[in-house]
Amino acid sequence: MNIGLLIHEWLVVSLALGVLLVDLWLPQSAKRNLGYAAVLGVGAILFYSLLAVRLPSAEATQYAFGNMYALDGLALFFKRFFLLAAIIVLLMSVEFAERITAGIGEYYALILFALSGMLFASSANNFALLFVSLELITVTFYVLTSFERGRLASLEAGVKYLIIGALSTGFTVFGIALVSGISGKMNFGDLAAVADNFSANKIFLFGLVFVIAGIGFKIAVFPFQVWVPDVYQGAPSPTTAFLAVGSKAAGFVLLLRVLFLAVPAITAQWANLLIILSGITILYGNLCAIPQRNVKRLLGYSGIAHAGYVLLGVAALSTAGRAAVLYYLTGYLFTVLGAFTVICLVMLRLNDEDIRGFAGLNRRSPLLAASMTLAMVSLAGIPPMAGFFGKFLLLKAVIEQGAVHPGYYCLAFTTLAGVVISLYYYFGVVRAIYWSEEPADLSPIQVSKPIRVTLYGCMAGMFFLGLFPGALVNLAAEAVRVLR
């Protein structure tokens, strides 16, 4: 059984249950501060993970539950990634609490349950665990998305996410049924051993495509991206942030595991498919972001574009590419969570998240203005921020494969086109902050201490990854060594 391996998951689930229980006895006024307790709890788990959880060696994989659950370098990397993201999202939710009329305690608990789903996803080594962890993430997000019960937009987002999510679940289950029905294997390792025999079997491939489609919904890759703008716009800001970082990264870790652990032989033949998906996703996200006026919607489309960028690393089908995926996602974590923290605070008392709400932000709160600007600069991929080095690694991985397949050169140029387009809308946000015409509201924005620390942390992360990438490059390269 080896239950000790699931230490992260145990701790997070008990923390979530604890939060739910304590919430019953807490007076209404104190419920909000429960979020800080959750932050401390997750922080302690992250601290413990960094300090005490060690793999016997870099390549060694430990299994639990009959090889369903794998703990390896990749899983550990993503577990820490999700824990860090959850800390920032929880801090954001404490600020957001005043807009949530009832049940803030449950909101914290749901975030923790979603987190546990992501932790399971990062270790999934079996189609059953893949499905269960995906469902754990998705079902909690249905509730998190529609948590602002009084707001029509939030409910609408919840319903849309429910419908599309149910559809994608259907895809996944159908795909898993076909794959395991044909091959008789549920475990990734077992499947890899026999997948070669089925590389010409249409039904098997069909099933695999359906599984990838189900994961594609989570990542928001074209053509499964339709839900993103509406859901991002309507959902409460902390939920959107967690969707943008946690859910996306969970999709990517599952994608990496399925493609490179379950069916490596077939993936090698899918270069064209991945190139085309990645190229279209980049163009679609960037082009659609141009006319957006709602900041969360804009970040939704930009998130689609970034899913395309990260997919570059997957499409490269090389170790360098997969390491670049991990690097890019880490930079993206700091950048996007920083941006959403700012959005959450600035738009707290506004009805819509129109870009005009940023007018005069540099006078209302220089810290928020600086964080948002740096986040946009990093998303646009400008040195010396994390986004630049991440894009550099991805591009390098793609061009490296150009010698094998000329399609990669086309992909590199598509990426460049996307980057140039994206400059327009990212600078539009920066312009709205510093150089708007007549700001309607110039009252200073109070930034609480925890949020201050969060923002400094995000900025430090963006700068550190951009200026001193060496350490993370090595870590990422270590983590992807288990993939083939």
């Binding site: 400008i382 630049f388 390098k396 061009i399 460049l416 400059l423 920066v430 150089w435 060496g470 490059v473």
Partner: protein
């Protein structure tokens, strides 16, 4: 720590410092910016004087410093100068100081302006000093992005927004094309290093030349990527409008210094590391450079706005550098580097003066101006000297460079050279002198009676400095040539390696032996 690191860090640290200075300390901000660029310029002068071409280190670079950065990818912070970039670093540092001096015209959001200006200056100097492909690009991008923001925010004219988008899109495309070329170069070389000296060693001393197929793919990327950045005809349309809309200091730094990055990249990387393709593309480049010299010069003649005229003339002057590069001869490339340095001072001078005029009169329409020499004896005289330098009068550094380029190109492209002489000497003289006549001479319209000359030495200093540099290097071009020549010789040899039978190669080696 190398003196180069100090030169680069001075403006960057000052930018960081300014971020913490309260907005109301206006004088302090100006002082910090001017002081930081001054220190950087003085250090650059010291470095230039200490640089002794005859005593270069084993790798051919001096004042080297190398710090490993991402060792897994072979990226390191590596700076150093040889004959090619020592003059460029000096020019960049001096122009940055002059630009900081003329930035007094900025009256709003000074804090952000000075921070961006200092980042730009640090980025430019870093790009020229870098001996690592990654940092070479990194620093350039660091300098390029502030340019866009400065034009968008502090720019002038009705078409400011259009100009901002045009320059952003053009230059981003150029830079990204070059980035793809650089990454491909790194990957194809297969040495797992971004270090330029190490790459050079790998390719030449160890005989790992890039395959013809790879060169065939990479060279156009670098040529056109860098070409867009340098306003190579027909990719020049961003330049006149962009410079016309930019605030003075930005136009000075970009037209004077940052634009030379692409040329430097061609000379330092594209020619020596991809010699086979370089040879086959050069005839085309020679003809394209006529587009700069003749066509853009012609367009400059028709301009009614002085700033646009200066913009077109700076595009036109790039033609000389391209011609020198295209010749692939020692004399041509030496001349190209000389023109790069001379034009840096000249473009900064002209944009600085036009900025002063605009600040005084509010217009640069040449038809509206006239007789200003009477009201502006100093500025007018400086403008005239600048115009003379621009049309290639002996005694200014431009003359030395241009004549060298023409000598170098004559042996390889005689037809192009003849046309280029016409473009440069006749057309250049026509538009420059016509501008001088219509703005400085003739009757003084009533409305300009209140125009004031630069009041004190402090305002005059940047122009005096730039003119002095033009004249010093014009009267004593040997100061630069003796430094450039050994390094240029190295590059020419690398271009012609592997093709000893080509006529150009024989000619060049003979020429270099003769000297």
């Amino acid at each position: 720590m190398s003196i180069l690191t100090l030169i680069i860090c001075c403006p960057l640290l000052a930018a960081l410092l300014l971020a913490f200075v309260p907005r109301s300390f206006r004088v302090a901000m100006r002082a910090v910016a001017v002081l930081a660029t001054l220190v950087s310029a003085l250090l650059a002068v010291i470095m230039f004087l200490l640089f002794n071409g005859a005593d270069v280190s084993a790798t051919g670079y001096r004042f080297e410093q190398q710090i490993a950065w991402v060792s897994a990818l072979g990226i390191s912070y590596h700076v150093g100068v040889d004959g090619i970039n020592v003059g460029l670093v000096l020019m960049g540092a001096i122009v940055a100081f002059a630009a900081a001096c003329v930035a007094w015209e900025i009256k709003e959001r000074e804090k952000e302006f000075y921070i961006l200006l200092l980042v730009m200056a640090g980025g430019i100097l870093g790009a020229f000093a870098s001996l690592d492909l990654f940092f070479f690009y990194f620093f350039h991008e660091l300098a390029l992005v502030p340019t866009f923001i400065m034009i968008g925010v502090w720019g002038r004219g009705e078409r400011k927004n259009y100009a901002t988008f045009q320059i952003t899109i053009y230059l981003s495309i150029g830079a990204l094309l070059a980035l793809v070329g650089l990454i491909a170069l790194y990957l194809q070389a297969g040495a797992n290093t971004f270090d330029i000296p190490a790459l050079t060693r790998h390719i030449f001393d160890e005989q790992h030349a890039l395959s013809p197929g790879a060169q065939h793919f990479i060279f156009p990327l670098l040529l056109f990527g860098f070409g867009i950045l340098v306003s190579l005809w027909p990719f020049h349309t961003w330049a006149p409008l962009g410079y016309g809309s930019a605030p003075t200091a930005t136009a000075m730094l970009h037209a004077g210094v940052l634009k030379k990055f692409g040329l430097y990249g061609l000379i330092r990387l594209a020619l020596p590391l991809l010699p086979g393709e370089a040879q086959s593309w050069m005839p085309l480049l020679a003809w394209l450079c006529l587009g700069n010299l003749v066509y853009c010069g012609w367009v400059a003649m028709r301009q009614k706005d002085f700033n646009r005229l200066v913009g077109y003339s700076s595009v036109a002057h790039m033609g000389f550098v391209f011609l020198g590069i295209a010749s692939l001869t020692l004399i041509g490339i030496t001349g190209a580097v000389l023109v790069m340095i001379a034009h840096g001072f000249l473009a900064a001078l002209m944009f600085g003066l036009s900025g002063y005029l605009f600040q005084q009169t509010g217009t640069l329409q040449m038809a509206d101006l006239g007789g200003l020499l009477r009201r502006l004896p100093f500025i007018g005289a400086a403008l005239m000297l600048g115009a003379f330098a621009g049309c290639g009068l002996p005694g200014f550094a431009n003359f030395a460079g241009e004549i060298t380029v023409l000598f170098g190109a004559w042996t390889v492209f005689p037809h192009v050279t003849i046309l280029a002489c016409w473009g440069a000497l006749i057309i250049g003289a026509v538009y420059a002198l016509r501008a001088v006549r219509s703005m400085l001479h003739g009757p003084l319209p009533e409305k300009w009676a209140g125009v004031a000359d630069a009041p004190h030495l402090w305002r005059k200093a940047p122009f005096i400095l730039l003119l002095a540099c033009l004249m010093i290097f014009g009267c004593f071009p040997g100061l630069l040539v003796e430094k450039i020549r050994p390094s240029a010789d190295q590059i020419v040899k690398m271009v012609h390696v592997g093709q000893p039978s080509s006529p150009g190669g024989v000619l060049v080696t003979q020429a270099s032996r003769d000297r």
